[in-house]
């Protein structure tokens, strides 16, 4: 979540939940929807944990067609980041979103038109700088594929 969203609470809806007091973890399952400001994550299972400093972390797995779906509005614009992957890790302290395995991240115009797209084995999106990068995963012979649409005036409207 961008600077404005960062301190907003997580709102999680699910069919079931198990809270383990000692480890301070919550496991949500069954059509899980996690929102924080404009960030929305859809998954089959989400586990959240709080670190001693109070930062939230979340690990999401599975979902529609086995993929976690992440969506967030870019700060100060009407553009959207739309991403998928088999696993998503949200790091509340560093404001990073890690997407792993079959990871795709797209930047969409307000009208939903594709502007940029990146595919890879592991993608990392920095919510503060709003930069997403592809990481090589040791031992995995994957490739990164990037589609960048020239920044024409039309795309500004």
């Amino acid at each position: 979540a961008g600077p404005a969203n960062r301190n907003l609470p997580f709102v999680v809806e699910a069919d079931n939940a198990v809270y383990t007091d000692i480890e301070q973890t919550s496991q949500f399952s069954g059509n899980v929807i996690l929102t924080q400001g404009t960030m929305v994550i859809h998954a089959a299972n989400v586990e959240t944990i709080v670190d001693p400093e109070g930062y939230q972390y979340a690990t999401a797995k599975g979902g529609n067609k086995g993929l976690v779906h992440f969506r967030q509005q870019r700060e100060g614009t009407n553009e959207w980041i739309d991403a998928y992957g088999e696993e998503l890790i949200y790091d509340g302290k560093q404001n990073l979103i890690h997407l792993r395995r079959k990871a795709i991240m797209r930047r969409l115009s307000p009208a939903g038109k594709l502007i940029d797209e990146i595919k890879g084995d592991e993608l990392v999106y920095n919510q503060l700088t709003e930069v997403f990068e592809s990481k090589a995963v040791p031992g995995v012979s994957g490739r990164t594929k990037v589609i960048i649409t020239p920044n024409s005036n039309a795309s500004q409207k």
Binding site: L8, P9, F10, A14, D15, G30, E53, G54, Q56
Partner: protein, 209 residues
């Protein structure tokens, strides 16, 4: 040539006494069987009349169990006893305090009404049920509010199928149905058809030391 009448006279003289004697025997046997039967019925009804029944009325109640470690595992108190029966007590203004294991935080449940079941040590709490787990070194204080729960004191388990609200520090969870194992300190929520769990988890970042 009167053959026929002598046969009858012979039967009357020799067989009739035996027949009469046999009938007498059957009558005596039947009467004694009936007598024995009716005596045993009256015997069992008198046993039932004397079975042990307890009916007591008291102003307050306190029940506690001390565990093998010599410490009180749970303490049930009630301000008013409506009725104390053979193996249960109906009470008002009830408090259940449980300390499942050494070092684990104390859990207290209060409610308007309660039914204490002596056989399996289950307490049914109804009416503004409030479960409080005191703060622990690793966790803020926690509360669960609902309308009715069962507390299984032998298995450290409080459960309901009703709507609830759960608070842990600044986090709030609402939903329907929970099973709180206060011994293992884990809380299972949801699972009822067509119901959803909603959690609001606050990002409460503590300033760096």
């Amino acid at each position: 040539m009167n053959q026929q009448p002598s046969k009858l006279r012979y039967w009357l003289r020799f067989h009739l006494p035996n027949l009469i004697y046999l009938l007498l025997l059957v009558a005596v046997a039947g009467a004694s069987y009936w007598l024995v039967q009716s005596n045993s019925d009256t015997a069992t009804t008198s046993d039932n009349k004397n079975s042990e029944l307890i009916n007591a009325f008291a102003s307050g109640l306190e029940v506690s169990r001390t565990g093998k470690n010599g410490k009180i595992a749970y303490l049930v108190t009630a301000k008013e006893v409506l009725h104390y029966g053979t193996d249960n007590a109906t009470v008002k203004n009830i408090t259940v305090v449980a300390t499942p294991k050494d070092g684990s935080p104390v859990v207290t449940a209060t409610a308007n009404d309660g039914v204490w079941n002596d056989k399996d040590h289950i307490v049914q709490l109804t009416g503004q049920v409030n479960i409080q787990r005191e703060a622990a070194a690793d966790s803020a204080a926690m509360s669960l509010v609902t309308e009715a729960i069962n507390v299984d004191l032998y298995n450290d388990l409080a459960s309901t199928d009703l709507p609830f609200e759960y608070k842990n520090g600044t986090n709030i969870v609402t939903g329907t149905s929970f099973a709180y194992d206060y011994g293992l300190r884990n809380l299972k929520m949801g699972g009822q058809p067509n119901t959803r769990i909603k959690a609001i988890l606050t990002n409460e970042v503590k300033p760096a030391k």
